[in-house]
């Protein structure tokens, strides 16, 4: 093992309006080694990946490759130097074939005219796909593939370069156990070929299985680095969150009330099948699963965004028919979406107008805007959630992610719902907002609301829920009561390990 880093970062800072994403961070990648980057959501990992691959330009600091200072003006420049990344959200082309997705940006050509050599590209594609044991038709359009398959295409794409630095940003989030094992093999191959690898994951078993070194980030700052054999999981966790885990979740024991929501036999042609559950007042029901397990899709169907083939919903014992979000809101069900910026808030509208949006006709009875009563309502809920803004006329786009999330929650609380669905409520927001959202959840259930929380963060699900339903590949795999929570069982159920035992 080499002792000189191959790719290193020094003093890198990057700020966005309202947020300092990276603050003077450093990082070293060694050839033939896997470095695990550890940090919570919002610690700046994705920003770092984008800075390392030329997508973002750092505000200050230095990137060094093989001892030489480099400047990455574009992603292309990074790729030419052999730096490649598999991003968390697969950024690929839906309408292009698998082969072309792999070779876009570095098409193979032949002849003096630089004519594209499709035959060569296809045969290389077949070879790479075989190498990673992915059974994917190289000619199929990407839009026909599942999320796991898309990830394999993204990995195949990264392997099609002569890569020296490979960055894997949560590559296993959407993969099944089998696919994950395949990925480990690929990583081993890359290691023996002398690649410097950066591996980002939330799963500590993975980190300890394949990493040689670790680096910890917290809130955009560098915390520590070292060799993986010198550290324990507990130590990593403490460094990652900056305190011990037990204190993080303000879970309170609240006596459960009557049944509020009953969902029965929910089915969709391609997304999920035969989901049934009940929810009581004062209860927090956690939905856990891998990314792409169908949880968000289920929630959107309950909320009336997508159509189901069969299934029924009862709210407080009364059967309701929900065809649109408007119906759901009327029935007392509201939804805080995962995609905050595209589904949750209207960025250009001010805070008060965002909060009153679902109930304009309730506040302004005759259809005319009454800015005073609107502002008063917004003031009540935005203050309750402690949204940080100069005043409520500020466009939501000027707020930090955490405060935007608070605006979304305020918007829904103002409608006085019975059931609130929180889809990844703390994704991509800073620690203090996160804690605020968690303590607010406790407050909500105390007031008799029923809460559904979809989350991919196991500690969060286990910390906040009274009950957890685990989904895998669109199916309800099993259910845990708080007393029976067991991290290993939940994780293996989510990755499909418990399928046979519980379904039959």
């Amino acid at each position: 093992m080499s002792q000189t880093p191959f790719y290193s970062l020094r003093g890198i800072s990057k700020a966005f309006p309202g947020v300092k994403a990276l603050d003077e961070v450093q990082l070293d990648l060694y050839p033939g080694e896997v470095m695990a980057l550890i940090g919570e959501n919002g610690a700046g990992k994705s920003t770092l990946v984008k800075t390392m691959t030329g997508i973002y330009q750092p505000d200050s600091g230095e990137l060094k490759l093989a001892g030489e200072s480099i400047h990455l003006a574009t992603p292309d420049a990074a790729r030419k130097l052999g730096i490649t990344a598999i991003h968390q959200e697969t950024v690929l082309f839906d309408e292009l074939s698998v082969t072309e997705n792999i070779f876009t940006g570095h098409h193979l050509t032949r002849g003096p005219l630089k004519m594209l050599d499709w035959r060569a590209m296809r045969s290389q594609c077949v070879k790479i796909l075989a190498d990673i044991e992915a059974q994917i038709d190289p000619d199929i359009l990407l839009k026909h593939l599942s999320i796991g398959q898309r990830h394999m295409v993204a990995i195949a794409r990264a392997l099609s370069f002569d890569a020296k630095v490979v960055i894997l940003d949560e590559p296993t989030a959407a993969l099944s156990i089998y696919e994950t094992q395949e990925l480990y093999k690929i990583v081993e191959k890359l290691k023996s070929a002398g690649c410097a690898i950066m591996f980002i994951s939330h799963k500590f078993d993975e980190v300890f299985a394949i990493a040689d070194r670790y680096t910890v980030f917290r809130d955009g700052c560098f915390v520590d680095q070292g060799k993986i054999i010198d550290i324990t999981q507990a130590q990593l966790v403490t460094m990652m969150v900056g305190r011990t885990v037990d204190q993080v979740y303000p879970k309170e024991n609240i006596p459960l009330g009557s049944n509020v929501l009953k969902v029965a036999n929910f089915s969709h042609p391609t997304e999920f099948n035969d989901l049934s559950f009940e929810l009581r007042a004062g209860e927090i029901l956690g939905f856990y699963g891998l990314v792409g397990a169908g949880r968000t899709e289920l929630m959107q169907a309950i909320y009336g965004v997508s159509k189901i083939t069969q299934g029924s919903i009862e709210v407080e014992g009364v059967s309701v028919i929900i065809h649109s979000p408007a119906d759901a809101i009327k029935a007392g069900i509201v939804y805080v979406p995962e995609e905050r910026q595209s589904q949750g808030v209207v960025l250009d509208l001010p805070i008060d107008q965002n909060i009153t949006l679902p109930q304009l006709s309730k506040i302004n009875k005759n259809g005319l805007l009454n800015q005073h009563s609107e502002y008063a309502l917004a003031d009540e809920y935005a203050s309750r959630l402690r949204v940080k803004a100069p005043n409520w006329h500020e466009p939501v786009g000027n707020l930090s992610g955490g405060n935007q999330q608070k605006v979304v929650i305020a918007k829904w609380l103002a409608t006085q719902p019975k059931v609130i669905i929180l889809d990844e409520p703390t994704k991509g927001i800073d620690i203090s907002s996160k804690a605020a959202v968690h303590s607010f959840m406790s407050e909500l259930v105390k007031q008799g609301l029923a809460v559904i929380m979809v989350s991919s963060e196991l500690p969060e699900v286990m910390g906040m829920s009274d009950r957890i339903i685990v989904m895998s590949e669109g199916l309800q795999v099993c259910e845990f009561n708080r007393a029976d929570f067991n991290a290993e069982k939940i994780v293996s159920a989510a990755s499909g390990g418990l399928n046979e035992k519980t379904i039959h």
Binding site: P75, L92, I140, P269, T270, E473
Partner: protein, 328 residues
């Protein structure tokens, strides 16, 4: 490899054949080779312009200025020809194409460097280019007798029985087929239109792709400026007024998605031919030419409805048995 014809193209092919044959059943002349060639010849300019427009639409833009560009280059070279009849025509054609290219580049630069929506840019340049024609010509016409013989003769002369005008479109189709299948720049245009974010991640400059598309659209409009003026033997301010909408219609009928990233040369040509056949068939079967516009409008609406049906979102594929279906 990708299939040469998608279902949309097959459908269009069948429609065009059925139309041609059924009109042929009424009027025998219609199916004669001479007539079919003349229909193609009539549609040539539309085909050429639609190909340029296709690239622009694939990059999520739109070029409303093609007809104005055509009219301006047409006027400029007609005026040069009438003042200097000895100026070699091939050079004149080249000049026209370059002039068109420049106008396309102006559109492209405004979209690329200033990020102005394409529809606004080309709405503006469309007015400007038309206005400039008036400034140059002072509103007067350049008529057939003012043009040199060679100038008017070139598109009409034939090679292996096919008019040079038709050859121009055949060559353009061939070049575009190559460009969209075997040229890196061409494929990058598709990638940029399909997903600008992913294109950026893979090192493709989306703005540059748009610029290239606009430039090529302009180049072809310039070329068509000559073809149009010499074919119809007249140049004036309102030449080809409103033709940009026919060009866009041809693309839409041919299955080029206005949302970008989707569209083939074959579809584009078939879309143009479809309009061409209708235009030529109506007088033959005794339908007043006043029907032409309504029919092409109706066809556009039906075509987009049909393709929206085909593309309707079916949701993500998560269930295992659902995954099996599309991946064979």
């Amino acid at each position: 490899m990708k299939k040469l014809f998608t279902s949309r193209e097959a459908l269009l092919c069948i429609l065009i054949l059925v139309m041609t044959l059924s009109v042929g059943a009424i009027a025998d002349d219609f199916l004669s080779i001479g007539n079919l060639l003349s229909i193609y010849n009539d549609t040539s300019i539309l085909i050429i312009l639609a190909l340029g427009q296709m690239l622009v639409i694939i990059t999520r833009c739109i070029d409303l200025s093609v007809a104005a560009n055509l009219a301006l280059t047409g006027m400029v070279i007609a005026m040069i020809n009438s003042s200097y009849p000895d100026f070699p025509v091939p050079l004149l054609v080249l000049f026209g194409a370059l002039l068109g290219l420049c106008m396309g580049m102006i559109n492209g630069l405004l979209v690329w460097k200033l990020g102005i929506p394409a529809i606004v840019v080309t709405l503006g340049t469309m007015s400007i280019y038309r206005g400039v024609i008036f400034l140059l010509s002072d509103g007067s016409w350049v008529n057939a007798h003012e043009m040199s013989k060679v100038f008017m003769q070139i598109p009409r002369s034939t090679f292996i029985g096919v008019a040079l005008l038709s050859w121009a479109s055949i060559i353009t189709v061939a070049v575009f087929y190559y460009f969209t299948r075997y040229a890196r720049t061409g494929r990058e245009i598709y990638a940029a239109g399909n997903s600008p974010t992913a294109a950026f991640y893979t090192g493709i400059d989306v703005g540059r792709s748009q610029f290239i598309a606009f430039s090529l659209s302009g180049l072809l409009a310039g070329l068509c400026g000559y073809l149009w003026v010499s074919r119809y033997a007249v140049a004036y301010v309102d030449v080809a007024a409103g033709f940009e909408l026919q060009v866009i219609s041809a693309c839409v009928i041919g299955g080029i998605s206005i949302m970008g990233g989707i569209g083939t040369v074959a579809g584009c040509v078939l879309g143009a031919l479809f309009l061409g056949v209708i235009n030529n068939a109506l007088p033959v079967i005794g339908v007043s030419p006043f029907w032409q516009m309504a029919i092409s409008g109706g066809v556009i609406v039906l075509a987009v409805i049909a393709s929206s049906r085909a593309e309707q979102k079916s949701g993500r594929i998560i269930l295992k048995n659902a995954v099996l279906a599309p991946s064979k």
